[in-house]
């Protein structure tokens, strides 16, 4: 199966090896691993009582992210990821693709997402891997909630992610 949504961690090396196992036509495997960033700062929810300030909150109103919980839409998530892989296959001459996205509670440094693409030459593998990540960011129904000492906060979607995905629209062939 090329697409997995799971709580468990993954072994990137084993996944990369599996993409070329038993075949001699693979000349390139490009991969991406996304991690929970430890240094990310989060805007903090208003204190419950006026004047009450958590000691964990800095003077600039931010607090470090201690954990992240990923929610998703079971059923649609897998369909959306498979549709993105199908789209990539239609655009580039690539062999196998592997996408793994974790859900549940993750800590800084934990792996969140894995994408790897095998092809005959590096060009297709690199570009298809980037395309799949850009589309995953804007089309796959996952939502991140950050935890800080001051409370929880749903992560806002970033315009830069829309722009990254939009680049591929301009270059799309056949409409």
């Amino acid at each position: 199966m090329s697409v997995s949504v799971q709580e468990a961690d993954f072994d990137a090396g084993a996944e990369i090896a599996a993409l070329s196992a038993g075949r001699d036509d693979v000349g390139a495997v490009a991969s991406f691993v996304g991690l929970v960033r430890a240094d990310k700062q989060s805007e903090v929810m208003p204190p419950a009582q006026p004047g009450a300030v958590s000691p964990a909150v800095g003077a600039d109103g931010t607090a470090p992210v201690q954990a992240m919980t990923l929610e998703h839409y079971p059923g649609m998530t897998e369909k959306a990821l498979e549709a993105i892989v199908t789209e990539a296959r239609g655009r580039w001459d690539i062999f196998d693709v592997r996408v793994i996205h974790r859900v549940g509670r993750l800590l800084p440094g934990d792996r969140i997402v894995f994408v790897a693409v095998a092809s005959a030459h590096r060009g297709e593998a690199f570009v298809a891997c980037e395309f799949i990540m850009d589309y995953l960011k804007t089309r796959a129904p996952f939502w991140k909630k950050e935890e800080t000492a001051a409370g929880g906060r749903w992560v806002d979607a970033r315009e830069s992610d829309d722009h990254a995905a939009g680049r591929w629209e301009a270059g799309k062939k056949n409409g």
Partner: protein, 83 residues
């Protein structure tokens, strides 16, 4: 009957993740369904006020002019933030 799902910050704002509802006459699009739910007032107004609210019908993202029919699964959610 349609099954309606809510996710992430919207689910928390509404205090529920799903409900089933008989479609009212005149509610033919997911936009009309959203307006009907938002008209319940209080926390439900989040459906009208949430910036860039997204909607999916039968697990495909669609626009708010997309038709809704009995038996559909309709999901409302904020912009996605995976990866």
């Amino acid at each position: 009957m349609v099954k309606i799902l809510f996710f992430a910050g919207l689910r928390e704002a509404l205090g529920t993740g799903s409900e089933s509802l008989d479609l009212t006459a005149g509610v033919a699009t997911v936009g009309a369904l959203r307006d009907q739910l938002a008209a319940r007032g209080e926390s439900w107004s989040a459906l009208a006020n949430m910036k860039n609210l997204r909607v999916a019908v039968n697990q495909q993202m669609v626009g708010f002019d997309a038709p809704v029919r009995a038996g559909d699964e309709v999901a409302f959610f904020p912009p996605v933030t995976g990866g």
